[in-house]
Structures are given as C-alpha cells and as structure tokens.
C-alpha cells in the first residue's frame, strides 16, 4: 500500500492523471455548453471502445502507429532535436514497404520481415537527410523536415498513382499475402478487427528505445549532445555524429510505423489528399508520455482509444467527434502547465502533511 501511494505521489505520475481528469472535465463543459449530454457521450465512447471484441481490436490498431510516431518524436527530443518530419518518414516507410510487399515473391518468413525492415530503413534514411543537413550544413531541422514532409508526400503520391497503381483505382495493388503482417488467428478471434504484429513490435521498440538511450554509451552521448552540445563536444563526444544517428533512429521508428500501417492494416496504399497527420499526432503522444518510452505507450493508448471511441460519440450521442481533440489538447495543456495541476492539488497535499504531523 505504501509503495502504491509512493507511485501516485510522484509528480511524473499524478500530474498526467490529474491532467486527464481535468481534460475530460473541459470536454464535458464544452459539450454541456453546446447543449449535449456529456455523460451520455462519454458512455457512448466507452461503449465504442470496449463494447465488442471487434471494436477493441480496432482500437488497438488505432493505438499502434501512435506509439511508433510518439517514440520517434521523443527519441529526437531526447537528443535535443525537434523532428516535425515524422510525418514524412512515416510515409516513406509506408511506401517502401508497400513496394516490397507488391513486387517481390518470397516465402512469408522472409517477405514480411524484409518489407518491415526496408520500411524502417527508408524512414531512417529520410530522416538522415535532415540529420546530415543539420550536422554538416547547419540547416535547422525544423525547416528541413517540413520540406522533406512535402517531398515525401508528393513522391509517395507519385509512386501510388503511377508506379504501383491498381489500374482504374485511386490506390496501389494489394500487397502479396506473404507480406501481410496480420496476426491471422487473432483477426479471426476478434471478428476481423485488423490486429497485426506492429503492436508487438511497437512495444518491443519502446524497450529498445529505453535500452539504447539509458544503457549504452551511444545513448549517453545522444542525451548529452542534446542537453548541452558545447559541453558534450568539450568532453570529446562526436556531437555531429550524434545528430545524424539520433535522426536516423527516430526516422527508423517512424518508418516501421508506416510499414505496419500498410502491411498490417490497409494491405495497399491510397493516394493522399493531405498529409495524413500521424506524425503530428506523434508529437502529442510524445508530450503526453513525457518523452518517456513507457509513458508513450500509455500516451498512445489514451490518444488512440479516445480518438477511436469518439466515433461512437458522434454516432450514438450525436456529439461532433472533434470534441476529443479538445479533450486531448486540454490534457496536454494541463500536463505542460503542471503549476496549475499542483495548485488544484494543494489543499489535498496540505491535509496529508497535517495528518503526518499529527501522527508524529
């Protein structure tokens, strides 16, 4: 019991929890002002997520790419880089994996892993361009990754529309069955929810993330270079190399996410009308998770479940499902201004301190 209360009084734990409650409260107030019934709406949301095995599987599907992109953003953050380009790296990985999935004929135990790995490498190389530009030419990574997003977006559309197109359709041919990343028995078990190996890999990746950053020399150098490049350089670390490596690792995670989205979920790629937004949502997930690999799993689950559940809100309670964006925005807002959260909790903590005094 004491251990439990310790966990919950740690600032890194209670701030997000209180923030989630406050965020849901903000959403409820907005709904109430708009003349909707928040209780019915939140009920419909929970019902949508946990109501059937199919929906639960689909909610997990929604969570998976968010964990990948969240990890990607966070890894760069930890090395002092702001990778807005996760979006583009995700698209690049998706395109590369789809190409492999369509065009090669291999046994499944080679084909699927190969497509996934190529997707990851494509994302890594795409991000590596921005890393190299920063390290050797001093180009701000924010602007270069924004440019790379658009280049990736148009290039992917070209690949879909011209190179890999299913004639007469607005999408590519289907990938070969051997490249599918679906977990077939689980798909059957969950009434055709599109669950895939990416979820498992995403969770493994967060362990790798943790190991690389905190248990290797390499990771120490990355964090040191991010924290204070001058000091790291003075200590003899290769700061420029760290920038490229950090970007590539980050882009690799994004590319894996993209690969699984194609191989595991859609089995093909459609022409995009706008940037799909996975990367930008990744920024939000990374912030929700406090840039911590395990926090990001929870951040991804929260973000993914809420956005999946929101479709139920609009269907059953007639609330525009964008309400959930307001909730998510508010949650991150309260996490960021933890001063406010502490202020809310002040009376609670004061009371406990007094209890302690009395006990003593």
């Amino acid at each position: 019991m004491q251990v439990l209360s310790k966990i919950f009084t740690k600032q890194s734990t209670y701030v997000p929890l209180v923030a989630i409650v406050l965020g849901l409260l903000v959403g409820a107030i907005v709904m109430w002002l708009g003349g909707y019934d928040p209780i019915v709406a939140y009920g419909a949301m929970l019902d949508k997520i946990f109501g059937s095995t199919y929906d639960f599987g689909e909610a997990i599907r929604q969570v998976t790419p968010l964990i990948f992109t969240g990890l990607a953003v966070a890894f760069a953050f930890r090395a002092g880089l702001f990778n807005i380009g996760v979006e583009g790296q995700f698209i690049t990985g998706m395109t590369a994996a789809t190409w492999i999935g369509i065009n090669l004929n291999l046994p499944w135990f080679i084909h699927m892993p190969l497509a996934v790995i190529v997707g990851g490498i494509a994302g890594a190389l795409w991000a590596g361009i921005a890393g190299w530009l920063k390290a050797s030419r001093g180009v701000n990574e924010v602007i270069s990754t924004i440019m790379l997003n658009w280049i990736a977006y148009y290039f992917a559309n070209f690949m879909v529309r011209v190179v890999m197109v299913e004639p007469g359709q607005n999408r590519t041919k289907d990938i070969q069955g051997t490249a599918s990343a679906s977990i077939d028995w689980l798909v059957t078990l969950m009434d055709n929810a599109r669950v895939h190996w990416g979820t498992v890999v995403a969770i493994l990746c967060s362990f790798v993330f943790y190991y690389v950053l905190w248990k290797t020399r390499q990771g120490y150098e990355l964090r040191a270079s991010g924290f204070n490049p001058d000091a790291a350089h003075y200590a003899g670390m290769n700061v420029k190399g760290s920038i490229v490596k950090a970007m590539m690792f980050s882009g690799g995670l994004a590319g894996l996410g993209g690969a699984f989205e194609s191989l595991g979920v859609f089995k093909s790629m459609a022409v995009m009308n706008a940037l799909p937004g996975y990367g930008f949502d990744g920024i939000a997930v990374s912030l929700l998770g406090g840039n911590n690999p395990f926090g990001i799993i929870f951040g991804g689950i929260l973000f993914g479940f809420l956005s999946y559940g929101s479709t139920g809100m609009s269907f059953e309670a007639d609330v525009p499902n964008e309400i959930i964006r307001i909730v998510i925005g508010a949650v991150i807002f309260f996490v960021a201004i933890h001063g406010i959260v502490k202020w809310f909790l002040k009376p609670f903590f004061r009371k406990r301190r007094e209890d302690k005094k009395e006990a003593a």
Binding site: L133, I143, L148, I324, R325, F333
Partner: protein
Amino acid sequence: MEAIGLLLNTTLVFSTALILVALGGIFSERSGVVNIGLEGLMIIGAFSAAVFTYFSSEWGFGGSSAAWFGVLMSIVLGAAFSLLHAVATITFKANQVIIGVVINILAFGLTIYLVKSLFDGSGQTENLSGIAFTKYNVPYLSEIPLLGDALFKTYPTTYLCYLLVFVSWYALYRTRFGLRLRSVGEHPGAADTVGISVIKYRYIGVILSGAFAGLGGATIALTTTYDFSHTTISGQGFIAIAAIIFGRWHPIGAAGAALFFGFAQALRFQADLFEWSQSIPNEFLYMLPYLLTLLLLAFAAGKSRAPSALGDPYDPGKR
C-alpha cells in the same frame, strides 16, 4: 504573356496568407517565444472569417462590409486565442513547443466542433461566394502590361498585406518598440536590467502573432476556398514557419520566402497552362519548390541565426 501574368497573380494571392502569418511569427519569435501554434491560429482566423462573414451577411451587412467584419473578427479572435499561448508560456513558463502543439490541436478540434454544431452536423460552413472578397483593379496601374495583371488586379487583402510587410519592417527596425521587442528576444536579462518589461513585450509579440495569423487564415477562407472545413488550413502554418527561418527572422526576407512558397502553390493550379509542364508528372512540379528550398538552405544560404533567447522562458532569478 497572359499566362505568366496570371501565374504571378495567383502566386501573390496564395502567398498573402503565408506572408501575413510569417510576419506574425516574426513578432513572436523576435520577442523570444517560439510559436509552433501558427497553424492553429490560422485555423481560428479562417473559421472566424468564414462564420462571421456568413452570419453578418445574414444580419444584413451589404457589399464587402460582411467580409471586412469577418476579417476584423478573425484578427480579434486570433489574438484572443494566442493569449492562451502567452499566459501558458510567459506567465506559467510552460514549454513553448508543447503549448504550440496544444494550440494546433485545440484550434482544430474547437473550430470543427463549432462548425458541426452551427451548421447541423455538416463539416463545412456555407459557401461564401458572392459575399467574400472580389478582386479590385487599381485604376491606371492595372493597365500596365504584365505587371498590371500580376500586381494590381487582386484582392484588397493582398494590398493590405504589401502594406503590412512594410509596416512590420518599420516597426521592428525603425522604432523604439521594435528595438525593445528584439532586445527582449536576444538578451532578456540585459533588457530587464535597463527597465524594459520582458513580460510585456513578449505578451505583445505573441498577441501580434495571433492577430496576424488570424488575418492570414481569414484571407484563405475569403479569397481562396470560400468556406471553412477541416482541409482549409493544411500545413500553411508550418510553411510560414519555414518562411520565417528561411527569411532569417526578417519581415522582408520572410515575405520573399513566402512568395516562393506561394509560387509553388500557384504552379499546382496553373501547371496545365504550359505545354512543357504537361509531360512531367504533377507531383514532381509540386515538390520542386520544397526541394529547391532544401538545396538553397544546404548549399547557398549562410547559417540563419535565431534570436538568442528563443524558446527560453524568462526567469528573473537566473539573470
């Protein structure tokens, strides 16, 4: 010849919003506050312009007064929304990048939520053609060959934008206000020591960015899309950030960069006008400006230097 005039004209129309938003971003960033939320502030602007123009015309505002009322509201609400950014980052010293992302998420959620509530579940506002801005030909000047087509047959907001580039440059580099604003972004400690209120100037910087971004968003709703939906603003705010960095945090430099990106967007609509461009897959034409920007940044431009204190909350105790 006519095609080129038209292309340039479209370039100016598309870059108007980017220039305005970039100008706003410069005020904020020069005061030391990163504003990743420009995209969201543009969304607020485009939404307010579309909604208030529509309803004010319903209320009986005639001619272009409805559109101007929409513009006014977009500036006011853009500025009001940016207050959220200012309070969080300046007063509560929250991370500026995080709050910028929050602004983007909230603006998107809130506006689409409101649109659906106001227009019976439809994800877009009513069409504004007929009440939005129309092009205005400047007498005499518009008759100059090529230049007239390119520069002087355009929307009132574009003329306003030319003016604001100059005003912003003047304000930043020729007035006491501008010097103080920039000093707060370069070395807040020093500025504070000589009696300049860091808090006040940063608030002004951020609120100006909201007003400008709101106006920029409004020009898109009122001169390009004629409505507001979830795709009205898709990435322009981030392009404006790129323009700021590319233009080295200088109003005229950023305007130049924004023109370049506007040209990119204009090409998309005009590509089939030229014979040589028809054989190239469109996607390569579209990506060209972004590719060129990347190459220019890598090999031609010198290092662009951000304001020194950009991104750091000011803490008088650490002076």
